[in-house]
């Protein structure tokens, strides 16, 4: 009997068992971060439903921990080989764990259950779950960054509030008309603030058609294209004045004190979840969401949470059963709009009712072209070097070329170090 058939039979067996309450239930542990608000309520309901449907067969014991502490707890548990059967993790570096063998390859299980991952999940998130032909995680949650714009400020500046900019030239033209300066020359309203919210250099570079991976598959952050993008990025900041922008930014904070929510930023890049913050703190704010302007190609950046199963789990089948349940169309539909971000199940996301909401639709459209920071096993934190280079260039400590050359050297040193120790 082939592996696939055997697994299929076993899965059917587990499902059949669930209709009878015979033996003592197999207990599996699930760690997550849904500890308050609507996401907690819905997750508790979903787990209770699963336990009810699998009474006497599988029982999920869940544990929710604050986002800020989750990583410490999980890391210590993993290092001590005590991780739970199923857990949430960072979608951005699944490959790091997959390479160590700590994660269960889910591809055979998906095949056995006759599920085609390419059909079910969005491409971008799915690619982050894949490692050397296997699928080591499921994309439970993901997100996108979009351009948020204030329609009232558009109207005040004589702009059409239904026509957000599509190119950077347009964006700057609009921005200049929206920007207001007070008597002391300080910004009162900034038309577009490149330092606000979730605006990152790599998104801008992607929009320019830049790739950080060269034709040989190597990570390159100092190619002429990247350098040119960084020069443009610095020009953007300089035309507004870094110090004035920083002074402006320091007036604002989070929630009601957010600069966009306070009506002081005409356009800014934010994660889709900003929608719920606006609802909570400025329900009357008239705003729109648009794709981030694209010089060459539409681009945005995503990350999210993956659902992973320990390869050391003693109850792999039960764990897979639960993970697949969480990713099922039905459950993902329930989670949609309740999580802090988007769902990874494409079929559920395209649900006609959800798509009637233009904000949801816009985010789903962006999910089709979004990019993730490329995962590099030898230097998984390479983007931090890039971010440092961006700041050095922005603050004028180094020229863009020099800052990126230095970042490239540091990344290559990391890669060398990895190769020497593995």
């Amino acid at each position: 009997m082939s592996m696939k058939k055997a697994l299929a039979l076993m899965l059917v067996f587990v499902m059949l068992l669930s209709t009878f309450s015979l033996a003592r239930a197999t207990k599996i542990k699930f760690w997550h971060m849904y500890i308050s608000g609507p996401s907690k309520d819905i997750m508790q309901e979903i787990i209770a439903d699963f336990n009810e449907a699998h009474k006497g067969v599988i029982e999920v014991e869940d544990l929710g921990i604050s986002f800020w502490d989750y990583w410490d707890k999980l890391r210590v548990a993993m290092a001590s080989r005590q991780e739970p059967d199923v857990f949430l993790n960072d979608l951005g570096n699944v490959g790091m764990r997959a390479s160590t063998g700590i994660l269960l390859d889910l591809r055979p299980y998906l095949e056995a259950a006759d599920l085609s991952p390419e059909e079910i999940f969005f491409n971008g998130p799915l690619s982050m779950c894949s490692y050397e032909g296997g699928i080591y995680a499921l994309p439970l949650e993901t997100d996108v960054r979009l351009l948020f714009y204030n329609k009232d400020l558009f109207r005040e500046a004589g702009l059409d509030p239904e026509k957000p900019p599509t190119t950077w030239e347009e964006l700057w033209e609009y921005a200049d008309r929206i920007t207001k300066v007070d008597a002391d020359g300080n910004y009162d309203i900034v038309g577009f603030n490149p330092l606000y919210g979730q605006s990152y250099f790599w998104m801008y570079a992607w929009g320019n058609g830049v790739s950080f991976i060269d034709e040989n598959g190597n990570l390159v952050v100092n190619s002429p294209e990247v350098v040119k993008s960084l020069e443009e990025w610095c020009d953007m900041i300089n035309r507004l004045g870094l110090e004035k922008l920083l002074a402006f930014g320091s007036n604002f904070g989070w929630g009601a004190a957010d600069a966009f929510i306070a009506g002081k930023v005409g356009m800014g890049i934010q994660v889709g979840n900003m929608v719920s913050n606006i609802k909570a703190y400025a329900p009357d704010l008239d705003y729109g969401i648009a794709h981030i302007p694209w010089p060459k190609q539409k681009a945005t950046w995503s990350n999210g949470f993956s659902l992973e199963i320990s390869s050391r789990s003693k109850h792999k089948l039960a764990a897979v059963e639960f993970a697949l349940y969480l990713m099922s169309d039905e459950v993902q539909l329930k989670l949609a709009g309740k999580l802090s971000s988007l769902i990874g199940n494409k079929r559920a996301a395209y649900n006609p009712e959800l798509m009637e909401d233009p904000e949801w639709k816009m985010q789903i459209e962006a999910l089709e072209y979004t990019k993730f920071r490329p995962f590099v096993l030898e230097a998984p934190l390479w983007y931090m070097n890039l971010q440092t280079a961006v700041e050095e260039a922005m603050y004028g400590k180094k020229t863009p070329q020099q800052a990126l050359d230095d970042a490239q050297k540091l990344i290559e040193a990391d890669i060398q170090k990895y190769k020497m120790t593995h």
Partner: protein, 280 residues
């Protein structure tokens, strides 16, 4: 005469002025915590800053206590704190007695080794100790958070008590020995009563540390019903949002016992810090 008096006044005025300035500086965070705890959420980050909540929202305290099992966590925290205080005071003083008043081979070497353990950064020990407790089957119980206190009570506490015991004259112990007292009896009847201020300091440090300890309970306890206040406070903070007002209300309630304790114990604590024996 008069100018001397006025010089003195100026000096006192300056000293008090500086002290008052610094106490106000240190009180601002506390004030801000209490002020925030009484604000509606939209006033928390408002600009310009609101120093006084208007109107004060006492309901925040009710909401904060309701949003996680506050009383249960307070009980758990109290239990852990009490056990650690008992453990630390009892075993650290026993070890310190042995290091200061008993003569045995290798005593000083062992003392220095004990002190040296303070130089090992706690982070490098997290995983080995976690593995140890896993093998003992103690993870998800209170044992990893209590038993270590009964195994010597930590190098710092031992050091503190030892230095104090050293200053107790040996003659006192000698006369007790001549009267036929056993070592344990001397320890309980002579050393401990004389060392109250030092023991008090150990107790206070332990209370503050255990009460606020976050990492230990976080990694060892998987069952939310066993959690402590420090972990409960985190439930107000999510990835993209924080209920600052509720968090501050719960923090105020959590800090309250420590603040009260400080006022009650202030004098004794100061005596402990100065490490005097109290023998005249």
């Amino acid at each position: 005469m008069r100018s001397q008096q006025s010089m003195k006044n100026i000096r006192i005025f300056t000293i008090y002025g500086v002290l008052a300035f610094f106490s106000i500086m240190y009180l601002i965070p506390l004030f801000w915590m209490i002020s925030t705890s009484l604000k509606p959420n939209e006033q928390v980050m408002s600009i310009p800053m609101k120093w006084f909540p208007n109107p004060p929202q006492w309901k925040n305290y009710v909401d904060a206590v309701k949003s996680f099992p506050f009383l249960r966590y307070a009980g758990n925290t109290l239990f852990l704190t009490a056990m650690n205080v008992i453990g630390n005071m009892f075993t650290a003083s026993l070890v310190a007695y042995s290091f200061s008043k008993l003569r045995w081979r290798g005593r000083d070497t062992l003392f220095y080794i004990t002190i040296a353990t303070m130089f090992i950064p706690g982070q490098v020990l997290i995983i080995p100790i976690y593995i140890l407790f896993t093998h003992l089957g103690w993870v998800n119980t209170y044992l990893p958070l209590i038993v270590p206190a009964f195994c010597g009570g930590g190098a710092f506490n031992i050091f503190l008590l030892r230095q104090f015991f050293v200053s107790i004259p040996d003659e006192l112990l000698e006369s007790a020995r001549i009267d036929g007292a056993s070592e344990l009896k001397i320890f309980f009847k002579v050393i401990l009563p004389l060392s109250r201020p030092a023991l008090f300091t150990v107790a206070l440090f332990t209370i503050v540390f255990t009460w606020n300890d976050f990492f230990g309970p976080l990694i060892y306890l998987h069952d939310p019903s066993k959690w402590t206040l420090a972990i409960g406070l985190r439930s107000f903070q999510q990835q993209y949002s924080t209920d600052w007002n509720l968090l501050m209300a719960a923090s105020t309630l959590t800090a309250l016992p420590l603040i009260v304790l400080y006022f009650v114990a202030q004098e004794k604590m100061m005596r402990g810090f100065t490490l005097r024996t109290g023998i005249k």
